[in-house]
């Protein structure tokens, strides 16, 4: 808890050595541990948090990023081919997603937005589970309790309050779990996100607020939401914050580890602004050429998160041609699996529409269900089941008619 004396914007400085309650003030400067050119930048107070990462671990991070980019590419292609109804690309945000999710413990719970497919993949979501929502074959992706990650949240900002509540539950349990919630730059304007900061700060709940500032909320640049850095927002709630290069997987991981450690030790919430860029459209339904300067895209291409880790590893001699090829093969395999599991997804059954509205039978729904099954059964001509025709009206044979 910050003391009264601390005043605005002055969370106590200090590295990890300070232990519980310590926090790093990043001020206006981005924390960056790998430059866009792939050089290792040293910042001792952050370096200490990633010193355990050897070549093997770095290679694994590289592989993760390559694989989730492939997932993204494949899913985008599937959407273009009509196999998915929609897809929200993560292109450009690989380091933010991988650096953060790989810092978590398996039993830490994640409350994502809709763009964290890479996080879900690392968390153990099956490929079918990742795509079926976007194919329109299910509302849900995976069982949140199995992989300790909620399903994609579409209502902007809602999930951050769930995280604050989950964190309050962790406190009640006396556990050292932490929960992390992902949200965008646009989301910071929603009342819910700000209320979540209030609750997490009030109860000192173990929550990591992970804001991926990808500079756009659909067509609105981040300056519509705020004229100052988003990282500053949290400070006004008494929550320490860090601003990191979101295209730098090491910086993201260091910051996330700092925040997790702080929370585990009872130090309460932390806010991380990962400064990154949405390289693709908002979703496959969007056309960014209507509102975005193509030069901006070029600038950010030069800061690519995968390229810079690759350059770093190559310079260290820690990434051979064979290793690159092996990673690409793995990515190809995942891409092929994704495609296959997508197009072979079984169609849902009509009566599924009534399942799981309630956890116990509900007289009103049961009656509606009964009536609809009678209705379907009345289509003598069309065999078992029948089907509605809301989209292609009047195309089917009449039932009892």
């Amino acid at each position: 808890m910050l003391t009264e004396e601390t005043g605005p914007g002055h969370p106590t400085n200090g590295g990890p050595a300070n232990g519980t309650g310590s926090t790093l003030r990043t001020g206006g400067n981005l924390v960056q541990l790998i430059s866009p050119e792939g050089e290792r930048v040293h910042r001792p107070e952050f370096d200490v948090w990633i010193k355990d990462l050897g070549d093997e671990q770095l290679l694994a991070l590289y592989e993760d990023m390559v694989v989730i980019r492939r997932i993204d590419k494949e899913a985008t292609a599937l959407q273009r081919q009509g196999e998915l109804a929609l897809w929200p690309p993560l292109l450009g945000q690989e380091a933010s997603q991988i650096g953060s999710v790989r810092a978590l413990r398996d039993d830490d719970f994640i409350f994502p937005s809709y763009r964290e497919s890479g996080v879900a993949y690392c968390r153990g979501a099956r490929l079918t589970e990742i795509v079926r929502t976007w194919r329109g074959n299910a509302l849900y992706g995976w069982d949140p309790h199995r992989i300790k990650m909620a399903t994609p949240q579409i209502v902007i900002g809602s999930q951050t309050l769930h995280a604050a509540g989950y964190g309050m539950g962790i406190l009640n349990d006396g556990s050292d779990n932490v929960t992390i919630t992902y949200f965008g730059d646009g989301a910071t304007s929603q009342g819910d996100v700000n209320e979540s900061l209030v609750f997490a700060a009030s109860f000192q709940a173990p929550v990591v607020f992970f804001c991926q500032n990808n500079h756009w909320a659909i067509s609105e640049p981040v300056t519509v939401q705020s004229h100052i850095q988003l990282a500053d927002r949290a400070v006004g709630f008494g929550i320490p914050s860090m601003r990191v290069d979101g295209n730098d997987v090491l910086a993201v991981m260091a910051a996330t580890r700092i925040a997790l450690d702080r929370a585990r030790k009872g130090g309460g919430p932390t806010f991380i602004e990962a400064v990154t860029y949405r390289m693709g459209p908002h979703t496959t339904a969007d056309d960014p050429t209507r509102y975005r300067d193509p030069n901006e895209l070029e600038d950010w291409a030069a800061k690519d998160p995968i390229k810079r880790l690759r350059t770093l590893l190559e310079a260290k001699g820690a990434l051979t041609e064979e290793q690159i090829a092996a990673v690409d093969r793995k990515a190809d395999q995942v891409g092929a699996d994704l495609r296959n599991s997508c197009i072979t997804l079984p169609d849902p059954q009509p009566m599924d529409v009534f399942e799981h509205v309630y956890s116990t039978p509900n007289s009103w729904i049961e009656r509606q269900k009964d009536h609809y099954s009678r209705y379907l059964a009345s289509f003598s001509g069309s065999g078992a089941g029948g089907s509605g025709s809301g989209l292609a009206e009047g195309t089917q044979e009449g039932g009892v008619r």
Partner: protein, 336 residues
């Protein structure tokens, strides 16, 4: 058996739930040290601690949104909304999260959240303190909505609501908080009447009068008054507003052929419309007259010196009974 006020009965039910299940937590504004503005949570924070009975920051979306997170973590949160008119900031979390998460996750994630809302008028309060917003919730799939009319039900049904794996919105008729009644605190919630069931509280044969919450008392008084005039009114306390226990109403209307529904909420799209429509569907050939609705007017809740006009009372209900019976009434002679 003890004599308890309505407020004390809910308090006793909450206490029982807190005792029986360590996962039950209460969240709300001023529910701790103060015991809530109506004292419904009086003494609970003292006895169960600040982690079980939580004074939250002043934000209703925050209360319900954090309850969702607590439910993910295995808790059974009970949220108090201080007054009916302050539930709207939480509407998004209720409608898009609480109500839909079970469906969204195909049953993987349960939302055993109870949202307590003191509702209704008649206490001379300023704006936003006397509303009847239940129809917003009954129209929301995924929620169960109940209301209670007497201390015994209040005691039992708050426990049933908390025990339910589905989210339940629990409407407390605030103007009855001080009414007393017998409460059997040993009542077992698993053998008690299910919270999905309605109850015939006064038997009768000429007219069926359906209501819930604060107006159950008024309806029973109306039935008594009607008796003096030789009219036998059957009063049904709905208890469950979503789903409504239609078989109980149906059975009654098949007997009486006449239906009056009364509630404080506005008429246009109120719960009375659903009951009138559904009963007309189910009992068309038994109905002697169109179902009659006696409700609050479709105006924002008026200031307190006008509220007695807005709220259905005994006389307006009896006028509706006359209408259902085809006897002379205030609208006699009006076409359509």
């Amino acid at each position: 058996m003890s004599q308890l006020t309505f407020a004390r009965a809910i308090n006793a039910g909450l206490r029982k739930a807190l005792e029986n299940d360590p996962k039950v937590v209460l969240l709300g504004e001023d529910i701790g040290m103060l015991g809530g503005v109506f004292r419904v949570t009086d003494g609970l924070q003292k006895d169960f601690g600040k982690h079980r009975v939580v004074d939250t920051p002043l934000a209703e979306s925050g209360i319900v949104g954090t309850a969702v997170g607590l439910a993910y973590r295995g808790y059974r949160p009970v949220c108090e909304i201080q007054f009916d008119g302050f539930v709207y900031p939480a509407f998004d979390q209720i409608v898009s999260q609480v109500a839909k998460l079970h469906y969204r996750t195909m049953g993987s994630v349960k939302m055993p959240i109870t949202i307590r809302i003191p509702f209704g008028g008649g206490i001379g309060s300023p704006e936003h303190h006397s509303e009847s917003p239940e129809a917003y919730f009954t129209h929301t799939s995924g929620l169960r909505v109940i209301s209670v009319s007497n201390p015994q039900d209040a005691y039992t049904m708050i426990q049933q609501a908390i025990a339910s794996d589905d989210p339940v919105v629990y409407f407390e008729p605030k103007r009855r908080y001080h009414d007393k009644g017998e409460v059997d605190e040993a009542a077992d919630i698993s053998t008690a009447l299910s919270m999905e069931r309605a109850r015939v509280v006064t038997e009768g044969k000429d007219v069926t009068l359906v209501t819930y919450g604060p107006l159950v008392k008024t309806a029973r008084d109306a039935a008594l008054a009607a008796k003096d005039e030789g009219v036998s009114v059957e009063v049904i306390d709905l208890r469950s507003l979503a789903p409504v226990d239609f078989p109980v109403i149906e059975a009654s209307v098949r007997k009486t052929g006449r239906l009056v529904i009364t509630h404080e909420a506005g008429q246009y799209g109120g719960l009375g419309a659903e009951i009138a429509a559904s009963i007309t569907e189910r009992c068309f050939y038994y109905l002697e007259e169109a179902p009659v609705r006696i409700t609050g007017f479709d105006v924002p809740y008026p200031y307190s010196r006008l509220e007695m006009h807005h709220l259905p009372d005994l006389d307006r209900i009896l006028d509706g009974v006359d209408r259902a019976l085809g006897r002379p009434n205030s609208l006699s002679g009006l076409e359509g």
